[in-house]
């Protein structure tokens, strides 16, 4: 059975998320909540002198979309410059996920990018 939203790779990331956990002595971190559902997400980053993200771990509880999104995004984010992370927008992440997201679930998908941007810029607003 193939589902348009819960594709196999989404469910795989959900069941076995990559880079899930915490880092000791993170260089940057942030934590936030989706007020609509109460889902929580925190992120820890290691950043080297050049401003490149060398390691990342996220933790929290959430639905398949929010967990898979964080897992998939983390693969891309490691190795990026924090300055470039600050410029990422919602479309970047939605495209990366490769699934159609309804308006209600959009925040589930974007929560990790919101938290990431919060960690690197201090701006906790939702990605547009």
């Amino acid at each position: 059975m193939m589902d348009e939203l819960y594709r196999d790779y989404i469910l795989e990331h959900y069941k076995e998320p990559h880079h899930f956990g915490e880092l000791e002595n993170p260089d940057m971190q942030a934590h936030d909540v989706n007020p609509l559902c109460g889902d929580e997400l925190g992120v820890h980053l290691k950043v080297d002198e050049s401003g490149t993200i060398t390691d990342l771990a996220f933790h929290g509880k959430g639905c398949a979309i929010s967990q898979a999104s964080a897992s998939i995004a983390s693969e891309e984010l490691i190795g990026m410059k924090v300055d470039d992370v600050a410029k990422l927008d919602a479309d970047w992440l939605i495209d990366l996920l490769g699934i159609e997201i309804s308006p209600t679930r959009r925040k589930c998908a974007l929560l990790n990018l919101k938290v990431m941007r919060g960690a690197v810029t201090g701006d906790a607003s939702w990605p547009e």
Partner: protein
């Protein structure tokens, strides 16, 4: 009166009369002459149908559920907010739904006025209103002054019902006016205040400014970005919209730092055992289940106004006022209060020698001419004018000169009953 002034009203009213189901009513064969829109507006079919259709087809909890019906109700609700905000020159973040204008003013009096962290209002401070305010823009400030030790003061009006500019300047010059709250259009005198200039003047004197736009939004173009007040409030039921909903537009920076006033569902992010963090704007100020159908209805009302064009409604009502004022003045013993047509919205209050306004209202009612009588929730203004009450005729887009004719005729008839 110019040709234009006679024809403009007829044409707009002709176009829209059929949109208002209630106008089809008759009483003893007399058509409904509704001249009480300043008290509450009638609703076009599009508004009634939007509410009806919401309940029949789209009703579901908003914001939080994952099924299709709930997505559509959320989109209808937030979509209405978007259209209302855009029409008013505001953003969705700074467009807060309340129950009515009264609650919006109380919200400001509590969340802004009583915040112990900022001490916005305290002993020695002055809250300045005007002699032409509605009780809703007086009593919340009386209560605030009672609780904080601040002083309530009133800008005087001139004998022709305008704000007394000298008195305002003098009071602002006192230097302790922390808040200035004033109506955009007076619901009794009809006076249209130049609120943009008033905001600039009061701000220069260090005051935060609240404009009560309850009468203005249905009557004339209003752009809150241009007026640039700190707070601008209005009410749905007077703006062709449903009861149970009002709007507060606030300056973003103020709203962002103000603490929420009402606690409950929807206005929180995280609820801990002993404290909570609060949701983003505008939801921080919308506690509990929203007036969803009402927002949808108000969205339809704003669409209705936008389609007619606020400037056309203004011109139309202005022409009716120009038609009515001289004709009313011809009735023996009738005195109109308030300014001439130039400075007046679609509101005419008057007294009639030898008849109490209540009796005028009763006798007009028998002719199916509906006017308001009493103090119009403006007892301080009545005291200032030295009268206990007035009768008031007020116009909307659907009124025409036939309605003015009916008013004049009914007044003559009423005087006869009283042997005048």
């Amino acid at each position: 009166m110019t040709e234009q002034a006679v024809h403009a009203p007829a044409s707009l009213a002709q176009r829209v009369r059929g949109d208002f189901p209630i106008l089809a009513q008759e009483q003893d064969g007399k058509r409904l002459v509704y001249l009480d829109s300043a008290a509450t507006g009638q609703k076009p079919s599009s508004v009634i149908d939007a509410i009806d259709s919401f309940y029949r087809n789209s009703n579901a909890p908003i914001h939080r559920s994952t099924y299709a019906l709930a997505e559509s109700s959320t989109q209808l609700f937030e979509g209405a907010r978007e259209r209302i905000a855009a029409f008013m020159g505001a953003t969705t973040e700074t467009t807060i739904f309340t129950r009515n204008a009264t609650e919006a003013i109380n919200l400001v009096a509590h969340a802004w006025g009583r915040d112990p962290r900022t001490g916005n209002i305290g002993e020695g401070d002055v809250v300045l209103v005007t002699e032409m305010e509605h009780h809703s823009n007086i009593v919340p400030w009386q209560m605030l002054c009672r609780d904080t030790g601040a002083t309530l003061d009133y800008v005087k009006i001139t004998d022709d019902g305008l704000l007394d500019a000298d008195d305002l300047a003098a009071k602002l010059a006192g230097g302790n006016v922390k808040l200035f709250a004033v109506a955009h259009i007076s619901n009794v005198l009809g006076t249209v205040n130049d609120v943009k200039a008033l905001v600039a003047q009061a701000r220069a004197a260090g005051a935060t400014v609240l404009i009560d736009g309850s009468q203005a939004v249905p009557q004339m173009p209003v752009n809150v970005a241009e007026i640039d007040a700190d707070f601008y409030v209005w009410t749905g039921h007077k703006a062709y919209g449903p009861t149970g909903i009002g709007v507060l537009h606030g300056r973003r920076e103020l709203l962002a730092t103000m603490r929420p006033w009402l606690g409950g569902g929807d206005m929180i992010k995280v609820v801990n055992w002993n404290d909570s963090s609060y949701n983003d704007l505008p939801w921080k100020f919308e506690a509990g289940t929203s007036a969803v159908a009402e927002a949808v209805g108000l969205g339809a009302a704003i669409d209705f106004i936008a389609e007619l064009g606020s400037e056309n409604i203004r011109a139309h009502e202005h022409a009716l006022v120009e038609n009515a004022l001289p004709r009313l003045a011809e009735i023996p013993g009738l005195t109109v209060v308030g300014p001439g047509a130039e400075a007046r919205g679609g509101v005419i209050s008057f007294t009639l020698d030898g008849m109490h306004p209540h009796d005028v209202g009763e006798l007009l009612g028998r002719e199916n001419v509906c006017v308001r009588t009493g103090h119009h929730c403006a007892q301080p203004l009545m005291r200032r004018l030295g009268i206990p009450a007035t009768a008031r005729a007020s116009f909307a887009c659907f009124n025409d000169t036939d309605d003015v004719d009916a008013l004049i005729e009914a007044l003559h008839k009423a005087r006869k009953v009283f042997g005048l």
